[in-house]
Amino acid sequence: MHLLEVRDLQTVFQTDGKKIRAVNHVSFFTDPGEIVAFVGESGSGKSVTQMSILKLVEEPGKIVGGEVLYKGRNILAFDDDSPEMRKIRGGEIGMIFQEPMTSLNPVITIGKQITEMITGHSDSSREKALEKAIALLKSVGIPDAEKRINDYPHQFSGGMRQRIMIAMAMAAEPKILIADEATTALDVTTGAQILDMLQKIVRTGNVQMTLITHNLGVAARYADRIYVMYGGRILESGDAGEIFANPLHPYTYSLLKAVPRLDDDRDRTFVPIEGSPPDLGADTGRCVFYPRCKFRSEKCDKAGEPDLLEARKGHHTACHIHPDELKALFLSAEKNEKRQVRQRKSISEDNPVLTVEKIDKHYPVYKGVLRKKIADVKALDGVSISLYEGQTLGIVGESGCGKTTLAKSILRLHDITGGSIRFRGMDLLHTGKRQIRSLRAEMSMIFQDPYLSLDPRQSVGSIVAEPIIVHRMRKGKGAIDERVDELLRLVGLDPSLKTRMPHEFSGGQRQRIGIARALASDPSLIICDEPISALDVSIQAQIINLLEGLQAELGLSYLFIAHDLSVVKHISDQIAVMYLGRIVEVSGSEELYNNPLHPYTQALLGAIPIPDPKAERDRKELKLQGEPPSLLKRPPGCDFAGRCPMAMEKCFREKPELKVVDKKHQTACFLRET
């Protein structure tokens, strides 16, 4: 008997007379002490499946079939609000959600919230519960737990709050822990710490953990078994190693080919999965992946929906094509894959498009009724970068490190405190407003969230036409329309869609619209602020390929800001690593990966999981403790010294400057100074 066994679970959402089959005949099991990952993109049904188990599906959703056997009892038979169900929720099965900011009650101390959880699921006394709460907080790595138990949620950082959530989930000693994208909202180094801790809990406590994630790397690093979901169905399941080494479903295979890997050869081009996620309202009677499948055959069209069958021992796949046949197809696809050796752009040192020298951006902090200035928050502290014609400079760092502030400073969206910015030799800080406006045509920006960056009340045509109209690049309606069509075609959209409104498009398409708008004024520099991090994994490759293609075609220079080093490494010629408003390392992209000099860069690289369990096992990495200090309490020495395992006494006293170590490699670390 398994700890949890789900048989033929079906959940539908009834909206607008349409039946959305969010969970479609899903069966799986979990056992104590194992980590099971549900991998899928948004809308694949991975979260709804888990919610259905706990009977937490909200209207208009409804569980219409199947069985959920927990310790052999069908818990679907209990009423939603029955005592049995409440005992299972939180008591037997704990859950951790994505947003640690909203899942804690802001007006109650964390101690009270945890003790409530303990007394609610057992009959221990208040004192006992408090003792246990402190022990729990210690076990999830909250320093000074005795003191901090009386603090309110806002007094903790995002990572700490997620730890508190885990402590709360563990309070009732559940047998199953479901982590729904639990580290997605956190920084990579913090996320890695938390997942490591969860892994320890599972291994020592014989708890079963279900990881819901879109990140293949996370699944590869932590999971024992994996279920791949797509369009409400499980398409493939099996041991983690087996799935990554020998994918037996075209979707899994394509996904692995579409995601950038940290250990990639820079010349690898991603093979995107064309098309967009399926419409679950339409019952096609075919395999859900059929419309996007590169390996589909006539058989797939007629044979109905494939069942999840065992192809090898413990390895199930839902595909009509025989596994051996699939293997052959995958092999020949790999052979045909043109190894496009990208033309190495030669770095011409004398032709910088953009030079940023020692810029500072300070925000004053006021206090009291008289608003007396008490301190400066140094969001940027002496940042220098250069970007050369036709090149891409990647800026990496975790949230709050000043990446976006840097972008805004360059675009003159706010004033900076000191330093100089030159664009094509022109000093941007001493240029009049009028000239700045004409410079705006030369520089444009692609934003992170394609849902917030397009005006919902404007048609796509009008959005893309805006820069053309503002900068008077074309005269007359006909000429403008023509240019808009051309731009839409350039980014791979059908120009006939230009009368549509943004909400009618998918995330990937919307990002293409954003790119078309950025190209409309014929810029030579585009600042890309996390342009793919809000997109589904299968769509990311499409956008990366588009950006690379456009760069080659139009000779654009990119300033590419991201927190995901594997993407940055792929697209960038040079990479600058930022920490707490300062640049700690600059080097060529390949060099940075092979030979990271700054301990922070090493830790950042180590924290990013690679979607390949085998490669994961062979990595030696620098594990990082703690979190970045607040900008208000910038340490007197090196900003990183407090977290650095190699810190010397000197590091706590003096700030290291960015120095050239060897050709094209600079770092700000005393360890590299001789």
Binding site: D16, M445, S453, D455, E466, P467
Partner: protein, 282 residues
């Protein structure tokens, strides 16, 4: 043209909106064709049949002075409509503009606009109306302006808050990066995104403008008697509510129906303007 057609199609997608539009049109028709529709002169007194019950002669009965209630309601529609629409027009345009400027620019313009509005409108509007009425005389236009002005801070505050919210979106930053001028940002990108609450507030304010006119008329600073207004009629009939309820109730019901029609119409317009709701059936 195509846009207007698709707007109308979306607007009248719901039956209730058609009903509300028809109701509103009915009242507008009543206002325009009052002299043709009313059976009597609204001010003709038939003192012999004071407070008469409804009959074939006086369909809704008469008031204290023996004036035909139906005729007075029909003529009263004119005053109510004009005051409602004019007041809302003035309040919406000035209030939204101030709110847009305060919200978009923030900082000092915001501080100045909002503090001035608060200072001026800390004076109760009835007292303000009495004072202005004393100076400028109490005509229809003055009344509409006074009522309209008193709604300015409400609009300004609402819009300012909405603008702050919309301003956070990246598409405003995208406009800045492109080099879009402030005027274009406000008119093309901010205004369309804050139009929904403006419309809802407008429809609600038409109703409250009609009611304000009633209370001002009651205090003697509104429309002078014997001109027929709905609010005035409700007040006049108040004392005889038990014996001849129709004198108050009939104009009261008219106010309620018109306000409901306008609110539903307002909701319909708001939904029809929202591109995200297109194609969703109710």
């Amino acid at each position: 043209m195509e846009k207007i057609m698709s707007f109308l199609k979306n607007l009248f997608d719901r039956k209730i909106v058609i009903l509300a539009a028809a109701g509103t049109l009915l009242f507008i028709g009543m206002a325009i064709f009052a002299p043709l529709l009313a059976p009597y002169d609204p001010n003709r007194q038939d003192l012999m049949s004071s407070l008469a019950k409804p009959s074939a002669k006086y369909l809704l009965g008469t008031d204290l002075h023996g004036r035909d209630i139906l005729s007075r309601i029909i003529f009263g529609t004119r005053i109510s409509m004009v005051i409602g629409i004019l007041a809302v027009f003035i309040g919406t345009i000035i209030g939204s503009l101030l709110g847009l400027i305060a919200g978009y620019f923030g900082g000092i313009p915001d501080l100045v606009i909002m503090r001035i509005l608060e200072a001026v409108f800390s004076i109760p509007r009835i007292i303000l109306a009495i004072a202005l009425g004393a100076v400028y005389g109490n005509g229809l236009a003055i009344l509409a302006v006074i009522i309209g002005f008193s709604t300015i801070p409400g609009y300004a505050r609402l819009i300012r808050g909405q603008v702050f919210q919309v301003k956070q979106n990246d598409f405003i930053a995208a406009g800045e990066v492109i080099g879009v001028s402030s005027a274009r940002q406000i008119l093309k990108h901010i205004l369309p995104n804050v139009i929904s609450p403006i419309i809802v507030m407008m429809t609600q304010n038409i109703g409250s403008a009609i009611l304000t006119e009633a209370s001002l008329s009651f205090l003697g600073v509104g429309i002078n008697p014997p001109t027929a207004t709905w609010g005035g009629m409700v007040n006049d009939g108040r004392s005889y509510l038990l014996t001849s309820p129709l004198a108050s109730l009939a104009p009261g019901v008219c106010i309620v129906i018109l306000v409901i029609c306008l609110n539903i119409l307002g909701d319909g317009v708001r939904d029809a303007l929202d591109p995200r709701l297109k194609g969703i059936t109710h």
